[in-house]
Amino acid sequence: MRDFAYHKPATIEAAAGLLATIEDARVLAGGMTLLPTMKQRLAAPEALVDLAALPLSGIAEADGVVTIGATARHADVAASPILARVLPGVAALAGGIGDPQVRHRGTIGGSVANNDPAADYPAALLALGAEVVTDRRAIVADDFFVGLFETALAPGEIVTAIRFPAVRRAAYAKFRSPASRYALAGVFVAALPAGVRVAVTGAGPSVFRLPAMEAALDKSFTPEAARAVAIDPAGLNSDIHADAAYRAHLVGVMAGRAVAAAIAFS
């Protein structure tokens, strides 16, 4: 790893100031992606701005809105009694990220800001119509995830929290690569008051919604209805782990499992 300057600001304002003034500074949250990337010298930032000292790790619920602080670690989201009560699908998703040691360090804000095409959280945010709160604004998930490792975040913008609607009828299912354990296809299904939303991760260049399946599940919220929707493999990822046709098939199967899990939660 190349050397860098390390800053651990005590306030959001100080963190934003550092990011604004230092050229090529990066935010460090849990470091589960950034540090391996730096070790491989795929990234060599001049400075790291560590968010560890900021009070951003809380989880709270009020008036049907669940707010998860950006530096809440996956293990804390998974074990949150609040989420178990009002948003169990997100807790279960967090409990399936990586392995226990990764869940002890990795954060929701880091995962969301990184927008890895196989990350789990983006599917939850997009399906639930969550909002990404930053030090400047709130961005709805539909506008936030732009493309491969790309988000609507401006340079130096810091994710401070994620706001979810409290929905019990919502769940995630993924098929993991047997080696890397990343999702070859992951599907989050959410039955919102305005209608069902379905988001897919791991299968394409970035997380995306499935309007055809949403319509089918609006008519019949059953695993059978989910599996009956034909998924077009065009545009899906093909690699040595799974070709596009196989991923398309997995999307249907995972959607069925997610619906079953959502029904079990509700």
Binding site: D3, G31, L35, P36
Partner: protein
């Protein structure tokens, strides 16, 4: 950068470059070579240590992030440096190792798990050990060791 932390119960102060990984500090500066580097890519778990009681991969954490924390390595498991910790004894009794390279990480991961799981099932142990890779044993005796070690850790206490 000057940092200070509690290492295996002892106050420790060091000056480290920010790019130092926790595992590098432990092994190369402080001589605690029980923590191993297997893959160096956050996958194998040979480098697992406890930071504030939680198991983490020390190859994927900056040493400066441990500032102010309590760090426990495999060298700190034994209460007096001579008697084996119940989990260490269980690995010995159940033949939970062959070459031994993964064993420190396995035990650090297992003691974290067992602290809150006094009577785990085989499935729970296998699920927890997802981040610890062993290339010798086929895991059979490791799982047996963790179940036995968890029971031994909680012996005499009500579950």
């Amino acid at each position: 950068m000057d940092i200070s932390f509690t290492l295996n119960g002892r106050e420790t102060a060091v000056d480290v470059p920010p790019a130092t990984l926790l595992v590098e500090l432990l092994r190369e500066r402080l001589g605690l070579t029980g923590t191993h580097v297997g893959c160096d890519t956050s996958q194998c778990g040979a480098c697992v240590v406890h930071v504030d009681g939680r198991s983490v991969k020390s190859c994927t954490m900056l040493a400066v992030s441990a500032d102010g924390c309590a760090v426990t390595t495999v060298e700190g498991l034994s209460p007096d440096g001579r008697t084996l910790h119940p989990m260490q004894q269980a690995f010995r009794d159940c033949h939970g190792l062959q070459c031994g390279f993964c064993t420190p990480g396995m035990m650090m991961s297992a003691t974290d798990f067992a602290a809150s799981h006094p009577a785990p099932t085989e499935a729970e142990v296998r699920h927890w050990l997802e981040g610890n890779i062993c290339r010798c044993t086929g895991y059979q005796n490791i799982v047996k060791s963790v179940i036995a070690g968890a029971a031994a850790m909680h012996q005499g206490t009500e579950a």
